[in-house]
């Protein structure tokens, strides 16, 4: 952390369509270690919401426990949010999304919160295709408790004191693919050029959008032998797909050769332009993506980009025929139609 809060100096800063600066999308002062990848993810979230021209109060932040889960306090200071108990963020998000489907839900979790204590909750949120951005800030260690291996630590990766990890990892990307997730991406806290458009696309995607962000723990997992350090990530970094997010009103400026780019139109009319680096990756085919990942991971590569997308599946609210308006705006008679209506309804099951 720093000795002083970031001063607010805006005279020279650019403004978005709402007349807001980047600073309007920030939150409280971070208390994380200097150089923590999580702070960079925070900055990427700030930039994404700024560039999307979304009013901060249209977002709701949810998180569990851990260094990553603290970060929801550091961005979008003027939005909604709940800090849940350990691993239970998906439940809170599910309830909130059911009650008000109009907010942009941003879940921030870590490899401990999502892959150990909260693994069950994580899986079921994916199953239900809950309409949210779910960021796993993945550093392979329990930083808050001084650096024990997490469930995401790679087999053989060394701890700060040199012990190798004897367990095989849970990979949130592969897990999400097998569970039917509709938006699966991996990125790196040090690569905002990739991370910011991914967050923008994920926020606007209607359904569960997972971004697994390699976010190095500068204090407990940034040494030689670690597979989640800055140096290791830069060395084995592989951008499999370049992602551009194009807002509905924007023109597609970049010129692509025919067949080189796959365009995915989102529900709001915005477009995700995917430019593949490798021909053997098809972001529409789960099987191919899983094979691609296995192949490249065998060479220790960190495969990043928007790896899989499916815009067709209904999200949780649609599947359950929830009304588009927030529940608290419905008249009481509609929200609670009374004992007679319930009795009528139950007759169908008699």
């Amino acid at each position: 952390m720093t000795s002083i809060a970031k001063p607010r100096i805006e005279k020279h800063l650019l403004r978005n369509k709402l007349g807001l600066t980047l600073r309007d999308y920030e939150g409280g002062m971070s208390t994380l270690c200097a150089g923590c990848g999580h702070d960079s993810v925070t900055a990427a979230l700030v930039r994404a919401f700024y560039e999307l021209d979304l009013e901060p109060h249209t977002a709701a932040k949810v998180s569990g426990i851990g260094c990553s889960s603290k970060t929801t306090a550091y961005f979008l200071g003027q939005s909604h949010g709940v800090n849940a108990v350990h691993g239970r963020m998906p439940s809170i998000a599910t309830g909130a999304a059911a009650a008000n489907g109009n907010l942009h839900y941003v879940g921030v979790s870590g490899d401990g919160d999502s892959l150990s204590i909260g693994l069950g909750q994580f899986c079921h949120a994916i199953r239900r295709n809950l309409n949210m951005l779910y960021v796993v800030e993945n550093n392979g260690v329990y930083g808050l408790t001084k650096g024990q291996f997490s469930a995401a630590a790679d087999y053989g990766s060394k701890s700060k004191r040199g012990e190798p990890n004897p367990h095989t990892p849970i990979d949130p990307v592969k897990l999400a693919l097998t569970l039917g997730a509709t938006f699966v991406a991996r990125s790196f806290s040090g690569d905002k050029e990739q991370l910011v458009p991914l967050i923008k696309a994920a926020v606007m995607h209607k359904g569960f959008a997972l971004i697994d962000v390699i976010s190095p723990c500068v204090t407990f997992n940034d040494h030689a032998g670690s597979t989640k350090s800055y140096a290791h990530t830069y060395e084995y970094y592989h951008r499999a797909v370049h992602t551009d997010y194009i807002q509905p009103s924007e023109e597609i400026k970049a010129e692509y050769k025919k067949g080189e780019v796959m365009e995915v139109e989102l529900h709001d009319g915005s477009v995700i332009a995917l430019k593949k680096v490798d021909d053997d990756l098809n972001p529409r085919d789960r099987g191919e993506v899983l094979a691609y990942l296995s192949h490249h991971e065998a060479q220790s590569e960190v495969v990043t980009g928007l790896l899989y997308i499916d815009e067709e599946k209904q999200d949780m609210n649609a599947r359950n025929k929830l009304p588009p308006a927030p529940l608290n705006t419905l008249p009481y008679e509609r929200l609670s139609p009374g004992a007679a209506t319930l009795a009528d309804l139950q007759k169908a099951y008699c």
């Binding site: 952390m1 720093t2 000795s3 002083i4 970031k6 001063p7 607010r8 100096i9 005279k11 020279h12 800063l13 650019l14 980047l22 270690c33 200097a34 150089g35 923590c36 990848g37 702070d39 960079s40 925070t42 900055a43 806290s189 040090g190 905002k192 190095p216 500068v218 940034d222 800055y230 140096a231 830069y234």
Partner: protein, 598 residues
Amino acid sequence: MKPTDTTNPDYFHKVVDCQWACPSHTPVPEYIRLIAQGRYTDAYMVNRKSNVFPGILGRVCDRPCEPACRRTRIDEEPVAICRLKRVAADHRDDVTDLLPKKPATTNGKKIALIGAGPASLTVANDLAPLGYECTIFDALERPGGLMISNIPSFRLPQEVLDEEIGYILDMGVELKTSTRIDSLKALLKEDFDAVFVGSGAPKGKDLQIPGRDEAAGNIHIGIEWLESVAFDHIDKIGKRVLIIGVGNTAMDCCRTSLRLGADDVKVMARKPREFFKASPWELEDAEEENVEIVVNHSPKEFVLENGKLTGMVFETMEYDVDATGKITDTRVTGEVIIPCDDVILAIGQENAFPWIERDIGIEFDKWDVPEVDKVTFQSTRSGVFFGGDAAFGPLNIIWAVEHGHQAAISIHNHCRGKPLTDRVPDGQILEPTKMGMNEWRYSNGFDASDRRKMTHVDLKERFKKLDTEVELGFTPEQVATEVERCLNCDVQTVFEAPLCIECDACIDICPVDCLTIIHNDEEEALRPRLKNPAENTEQDLYVSAPLKGTGRVMVKDEDVCVHCGLCAERCPTAAWDMQLFDLIKAYASEDSLGVAAE
């Protein structure tokens, strides 16, 4: 872009906008920090080393530092640098023990200094302690040059002048007042090893329009009139006064008139306000005293009745101004008579050297101004040097001081047979400011306060006496706030590329978004692609060597950095460090040439 060469002192020097803009390169943030600590004497001495007259300049400096101040780029108004300098001067203890002493013996070299203004006094200040026998000649009764003759005492009290000039005279400098030099040729025949001409630009411009000669009794040349007031030869003026011209001399004339009995003073400007030469703060002070500033009036003739001045005819003007602020067309739209009792002409001044013979090897250019070398300040005759307004026409006190420093180096070389171009280049010292975990030996927080306003003596009270100083100086509360507005631009952000792990921490925390890690390119290509586009091309980009993770480079746009040190606090590897920059500027001294004085 190539990695920035920070071994050249100019790079970091330029980041300290105020110091870079100051002709004598006063280390402004350094003395502001000393003031913040209540070390007024130390702050005064830091000032004195470079600008020699902190008390005088703390009141009447032209302040090139303030428009340059970085604060104007992130806030509305600059730090009140000049006012803080006065704080140091006003609250210092006795500094006599800290000043250079009159040496026990002289080195036998005799220097003649013509004119007792800031340029000559600075030369004497630098040379006398080295053993030179300096003799200053001045036509007036008291020393100071235009500082005494042209700057009214309600802006610059006599005792402030006397004290700071006294420091120099006490170093064994001989002063010959009321001694006008009428012939340089004659002076050169005397036994001087070098002559320095610091005689200023003493000739006020006249306005030859109809009625000028007939009304001469009530028409005054601004700088001559101010001099007569300063030496008590004039103590009153008519009720209605017109000032022609709208520079800083005009401001002094109009305000002085109000103190000598005028009650209706108009400053007549030919052009619109954006073309005024006067400093904005001097205009503000005059208008506070209810001086009316009339724009777009061009003088045509003086009107007399029964041989006495009764008014002036002006042509009313109209101008077309293009987008760049240039006048493209001028029209006369009519005429108007403005009644008055006296007129003061303040339309500029120029050099005049009737006392320099043209056959003594001193070449004059086509404007009849001597040819003076811009580095050595020597004329075309060896051993004759010029400085201050006498060198390149009217500038200001702080420029005169810097000319004096440079001329002193030249004279020192000249007297020892060294080439004048043998000058020690600027040097720099960079030292860490880290005191501990997120602790720095400067106040790195950002204070969002607005510039403090100087309080003035009550409008009625100030006119009672000519020499009532109008500005009261800052209160302790004002000082405490104003010092914190300084951004400590001399505490430099120094980057060590090999240490960087490209975690982006500095980029995320920077409150002004001035950092970017990016693939290297040409400057024009990089500027628009930075996190916040670097549009101010007057400010440099600080570019690192390639980083080891990706081969990209760290780029810092120096434009709006507030030197808060958050990049260094956030950096996990100390690739960023906050280091104090000290400019090592050469002065005439025994060791500045690497040789001891004989």
